[in-house]
Symmetry: C2
């Protein structure tokens, strides 16, 4: 039981800092989204599409989480978005202290919507609160329609599911009806958005949903 106690202590400390992050974000009126997904599902691409779709309506900021490298932050910075890269040094998820570190380095007065790109992982990030208001998982068509079945911990806790890479549907055996039914069974309240960051299809509805939360 000793190990379990340590884990509880870590989780309690994380939740406390997540709560402080949330208070800070509320005070500044910043709606914050925790974007989670498998590696390569298109988290950074979705952030870039969202920034474009909301340009002139909302000021977007970003926190980029990765086990290593800064390629994602570089891509986002090129779009004129204030961004902080967090490298977890091999760690499998972001936690609340990492996000607090990043918040201290962002121009919070210039941000309406903060998009946090978590580490690419469908398991661990679901267990760590960051201070976010909304949790979103991005699933991509090439991953297959059975992912909610295999990763129920993730798909059952999110507020929305974004299905990306719909442009690849003609080349893959992906059953959208079955996928939507799996999500409805696990998490009937979850909003579902079908998008392609390559063609832009569906991005407007997703961006409108985010904008609705910021008004």
């Amino acid at each position: 039981m000793a190990e379990m106690k340590v884990v509880e202590k870590i989780m309690a400390a994380n939740d406390q800092i997540a709560e402080q992050n949330r208070r800070l974000l509320d005070e500044r009126g910043i709606v914050t989204v925790n974007l989670m997904a498998s590696p390569g599902a298109g988290k950074t691409s979705l952030i870039l599409c969202t920034v474009e779709a909301l340009r002139g309506r909302l000021r977007v900021g970003a926190i980029e989480g990765d086990t290593a490298s800064r390629v994602d932050a570089d891509r986002v910075a090129t779009a004129g978005v204030p961004v902080v890269q967090i490298n977890t040094g091999g760690g499998c998820h972001l936690d609340a202290p990492m996000v607090r570190y990043a918040l201290n380095r962002l121009p919070l007065d210039e941000i309406d919507l903060l998009l946090i790109e978590n580490v690419g992982n469908l398991v661990c990030p679901a267990g760590f609160a960051l201070g976010e208001h909304v949790n979103v998982v991005i699933a991509s068509v090439p991953e297959g329609d059975d992912k909610p079945y295999k990763y129920p911990g993730m798909f059952s806790v999110v507020d929305a599911v974004v299905i990306n890479k719909t442009d690849l549907l003609p080349y893959l055996d992906f059953d959208m009806v079955a996928f939507r039914e799996l999500i409805a069974g696990l998490n009937p309240e979850a909003r579902i958005f079908e998008v392609s960051c390559k063609t832009g299809e569906g991005i407007e509805a997703w961006a409108d949903w985010l904008a609705g939360m910021c008004s």
Copy 2:
């Protein structure tokens, strides 16, 4: 520092059981492969293709790891392969005690090659020895060519990289030369196999490599 000590103790216990697993597998002459990948990269599909390619040459067994469900084990059992499903109950990786549990339930006298499908995760599984002889990561073309850069922990420890879903190359911006160069930089000894589990392309070379280790 208390937490770090606990983690070390857990890792030492895992490594000890992994060592016992390895000894048992060596005694039975079973070559064991730890297959790691993102969710949806095609681990189960690769196992099924490998079983077909080796039919009549080697007797394959499998351990299927998932956070939940038994769909993968059902697919593999249909191919006539002895298989045990491990559900981690939300856990993000397999560990050596889980594999020992599965080994006790497999007909080891009827297996030459054991394929272990780890939980879909490019981070955590790389840190836990199972008793395997060979570590393999499957990357898939839709995930993008930058994955070795973002998950160096995984790509630097494996003996081979299988690039799956090459049939989708015409529809995606995936730079195979850049991908191979990233792997060569991180892990010059790693074998690289380009395959499509959909068309069967490249499976023969991969299966021959496995067969070569079993002879």
